[in-house]
Amino acid sequence: MRIKTCFERLSLEDRKGLMPYITAGDPQVNKTADAMHAMVKSGANLIELGFPFSDPVADGPVVAAAHERALSQGVTLNDVFSIVTEFRKTDNTTPVVLMGYLNPVEIMGYQVFAEKAANAGVDGVLIVDLPAEFAGELVAELKPRQIDMIYLVTPTTTDERISKICSVASGFVYYVSVKGVTGSHKLDLEGIQARVNHIKGFTDLPVGVGFGIRDGESAAAISTVADGVIVGSLLVAELAKYAEEGEACIDQVAGHLTAMRTAMDKQ
């Protein structure tokens, strides 16, 4: 319910959601919860936490490298649940969405996954390679535990599919604003606005927009056309500098989010 509450409160305050993504294990497995807290302090409203997979096909080089860093530290789904549990000790309001690929969930078993996620305090799940039409069995485990299933919609998703996706989605809809893998650049605000409005014709759920957001300016621009601004690669690239910079990389992430929050709230 945290996701619903979060967007309701934002709507009352006439603000938009700032939704950062980082991968579990960044900058270190025992420092991920710290990074999550730092992001909330800098204005994040919802956190997407990636869980690693050996073959992150839909991700660009920056996020793929984060998956590799996580795996080289031996990060498992159970570690990801521990991170969320740790985070929940002092933050019981910020929604956490787990984002990753199906096979680790499949091997753990849908029921066990859903149970552990619920116990840890997870609010939503986005499985990149599990399309809505094949998600029924997993949703059947998540739904009774009040965990939302989040889906992607892209510039090329047909109306038939948008309709199908919106009929089973909960929490929010994640609109991927540019074609391609995560971390791509271009931004076409008018096109995004038209597309977001189009999606809203199919659902009352909030729409978050991600892929291609680099700074306060682009975040503020997106916030004028969407309910939430999703930012990932930019932050993940900062956390990748942990080896050289140490925990200062968390400050860099916080700095980006503060700039975005400030710019968004001025709109």
Partner: protein, 407 residues
């Protein structure tokens, strides 16, 4: 394990509308790929049933590939084994030296019909890359081949062949730097610029419609073999044997025979240094099922669901996943999937070269090695058809190295 009951007559009707073979297959991809896969599926279904497209495809198979390939009775070898008569389906005699050209031509013709100017492909051993570069050259299409950096090192000759054919070979440095990483890189390329690009996938794996489409383009192997066997011996074979990496040559041979109840089917996986050593590509032996690269199938992964590295002396079998139709045939009990180790395959490579004057690819040598075990358990009037999926020229360096030679 217990098999679920199945109807022989209905096996050939798969996959279903969602791309599933039983519980295997499907289209487990990010939303970013859905639209291009739907477009591909629609075009493929329309053209596969279009007589004009079929005529183009058949003409290329006859005059460019050199089909039909012979079905050759390996009399001397059969006699030595003292059991069933062994017939070799000579896909090694195809243009470019392997079965891969069959589906490369089919997919390239699709690309042309769809107006795509840019071809991408992945390759392991380099055979599929060479076949794709070949058809791209002939049709005047730009061609980019993704190849694991490790495979680029061990298959230098094929890399150079692709370059001579005008293709750009991109070494992939991520992950295990082998075939699975090359597929990831090709999928990422495709997501980034889908409008102008056609992805010629090299095996019966991946998201729907690839497993069905590649199988159908390869099914010419089994149609010819069935007809040739009836012409030569007046009966159907008793057993089929083919090696299984992703499984394209095997599905190509097996498909036409799926409803022939008397025909036993064996797909041979790579046992590498032995399954107990952990260094192998015997996906079925591990009993693990999951979702990887767009499909649900048997696969190799650890207890956390991370895909593990496969191993085989033959690059073409060195892959942690397997085509979903094979998984279904295994799960229902229509086909068996034994494995053969590196050493057994190398021995069979030498054996066929000396006994019949045919030098097989190391991939195909796995099928030969299994037939060596199977034939003596059968009667002299029984027939085994082995798919000799490729020729061994590309493997001479590997074999020479094992012999302590270098050129």
């Amino acid at each position: 394990m217990t098999n679920t009951p199945f109807d022989f007559q209905k096996l050939k009707d798969l996959p279903d509308e969602t791309g599933h073979f039983g519980r295997f297959g499907g289209r487990y991809v990010a939303e970013t790929l859905m639209a291009v896969l739907q477009e591909l599926e629609e075009t493929y279904k329309k053209l596969w049933n279009d007589p004009e497209f079929q005529a183009d495809y058949d003409r290329d198979l006859a005059h460019f590939v050199g089909r039909p390939s012979p079905l050759y009775h390996a009399e001397r070898w059969s006699k030595e084994l003292g059991g069933a008569q062994i017939y070799l389906k000579r896909e090694d005699l195809n243009h470019t030296g392997a079965h891969k050209i069959n589906h490369a031509i089919g997919q390239a013709l699709l690309a042309k019909h769809m107006g795509k100017k840019r071809i991408i492909a992945e390759t392991g051993a380099g055979q599929h890359g060479v076949a794709t570069a070949t058809v791209a050259a002939r049709l005047g299409l730009e061609c980019i081949v993704y190849m694991g950096a490790k495979d680029v090192e061990r298959q230098a000759l094929n890399v150079y062949r692709m370059k001579l054919l005008g293709a750009t070979v991109v070494p992939v440095e991520s992950g295990s730097r082998t075939l699975k990483d090359a597929i990831n890189a090709a999928l990422q390329d495709w997501v980034t610029q889908p409008e102008e690009t056609f992805y010629i996938l090299g095996t019966v794996c991946g998201p729907h419609p690839y497993p069905e489409m590649v199988r159908n383009f390869q099914s010419i192997i089994g149609r010819e073999a069935r007809r040739q066997c009836l012409e030569m011996t007046s009966k159907l074979p008793d057993a089929l044997v083919a090696c299984v990496g992703g499984g394209s040559n095997a599905m190509g041979l097996f498909y036409e025979f799926l409803s022939d109840e008397s025909v036993k089917i064996y797909g041979v996986e790579a046992g590498g240094h032995g399954v107990e050593s952990g260094e192998h590509a015997a996906r079925m032996a591990g009993e693990r099922q999951g979702v990887f690269q767009g499909q649900r199938s048997y696969l190799m992964c650890d207890d956390d669901g991370q895909i593990t590295e496969s191993y085989s002396v033959s690059a073409g079998l060195d892959y942690p996943g397997v085509g979903p139709e094979h998984s279904h045939l295994r799960a229902v009990g229509r086909a068996e999937y034994p494995y053969i180790t590196d050493d057994e395959a190398l021995a069979a490579f030498r054996k066929l070269t000396l006994m019949e004057g045919i030098m097989p690819a190391l991939e195909s040598s796995h099928a030969l090695a299994y037939a060596e075990k199977l034939a003596p358990t059968m009667d002299k009037d029984q027939i085994i058809i082995i798919n000799l999926s490729g020729r061994g020229d590309k493997d001479i360096h590997t074999v020479a190295e094992i012999d302590g030679l270098s050129f």
